[in-house]
């Protein structure tokens, strides 16, 4: 599907540009994008270390965060007999089953939220960074905000 652009501009592909140097006191957001390579509908983030975080955080800490998030989501979304059973019972009991037995997915999302809070508190906030929960952006990306103090002031 082609996108109609205002003024019929031609769609440009990725041409290289030089990053304009930004002075201190600014906030940077680094996004870790979704990995759709498996195509099985399970939410997964790319385990690629963004170069902008070089020197700010150790590789293994960030990759541990991303890999744990991927593992939580894999366990939540992989269809097992328990998922199928829960769904069938939900339909047969006229949607009262989830009130009595919370679904595995909901528990996994709570676990994910707690994990992000713990990681922020223990790892990222001391380094001047923060991970935003991916739920609010529909799991399209994982955003890491970098806060810098303005040393000039």
């Amino acid at each position: 599907m082609t996108v109609r652009t205002p003024g019929n501009q031609q769609r440009r592909s990725m041409t290289p540009h030089i990053l304009v140097p930004i002075s201190q006191g600014l906030v940077m957001c680094v996004r870790v994008e979704r990995d759709y390579s498996k195509g099985d509908g399970i939410t997964k983030f790319q385990t690629v270390f963004p170069p902008e975080l070089e020197g700010r955080i150790q590789h293994d800490k960030l990759l541990h965060t991303v890999e744990t998030l991927n593992a939580i989501l894999l366990q939540a979304e992989t269809l097992t007999f328990r998922h199928v059973f829960d769904n069938i019972m939900e339909c047969l009991t006229i949607y009262t089953w989830p009130l009595l037995f919370p679904s595995k997915y909901q528990k996994a999302l709570d676990h994910l939220r707690q994990f992000v809070e713990t990681q922020n508190k223990e790892v990222y906030n001391p380094l001047g960074m923060e991970i935003t929960s991916p739920v609010r952006v529909a799991f399209l990306y994982l955003e890491i905000k970098i806060f810098e103090r303005n040393e000039a002031s």
Partner: protein, 340 residues
Amino acid sequence: MHKTAVKNYQVFPGNIKFFCGGRFITSKAYWAFGVSIGVLLIPAILNIILIDYRCPWYWTHLSPAIPIIFAYTFILTFSSMMRTAWVDPGIIPRNLNKMPPIASSINENSGILPDPLQFMTPPIKNVMIKGKQVELNYCETCLIYRPPRSSHCRDCDNCVELYDHHCIWLNNCIGKRNYRTFFVFIVTGTFLSVFVFAFSLAHLMLLYFNDPEQREFKTIANNAPVSLLLTVFSFLFIFPIGYLTAFHCYIVCAGVTTHEKLKIDGRPFPNDKPMFDFGSSFCNFIHSVCQPRSKSYIARRKFVTHPLPLQTIIMTTDSAGNRYSTIQRNTLMSQTPLNT
């Protein structure tokens, strides 16, 4: 981030209406939903309440199971209908990939302001899915790169995840979060039509055969007019809802959504296999219908939070390893691809 006193649903853009304090959503064609409610409720009322001799008749003459099964199926159909019609189908939040104004390259000190209505062309964004490179479409209304299998609904004016179709009779889109309840609704609706047809016809047949003196169509029609009406109405109704159920069973086993199926059918030389096929009909069925229900992304009842007015750079990498930087100045954002 600072919180305001306004909830997200009160300022939500898009052609949908929220009610009960943002808990439920619906689109704008209320008349169609009214028709659907009428089609479901009126025969049920006729079958149970108004015809006061019918349920005792079934209970005593045939079996007590018949009214019980009817009541259970009717409640399941009705609750599935409500859960499909009033639930967020998987709307994707807006403004996640805003493009900069065209004049963003103008020097900040020149005093020339960028025209906020002219935005830069969004760069092409590709992802790898099962070894193939797929271009993600940029939605100019929602200002996002739509994930695979999502689409923008023109009626609701929202991008919906795993978009199936917009159902005018339910006055809502069918997407990731409500496809299962929609499927249950159409299956139980078909069963209910067949059930009402079968037992209304049985009532008429038993009246015909039980009373040898009154074996005339006119007499039976006078004695049981509502049974006759229900027989005819449910028989006619079986065809559209049965076709819809058969169509959805087919596409669920094929591993495609309605939207994707219509796109495939529209091509002169359709491709052989859909991209998201799991190999067998059973696996496709389980994956379509038994997916866990994801959380609503639009946070309807949470308070609106505004980012603080800081200058922000956003760095992102696509699956081919290309880096993008996005600069946010107050409420404007610009995007510039980088050397990899």
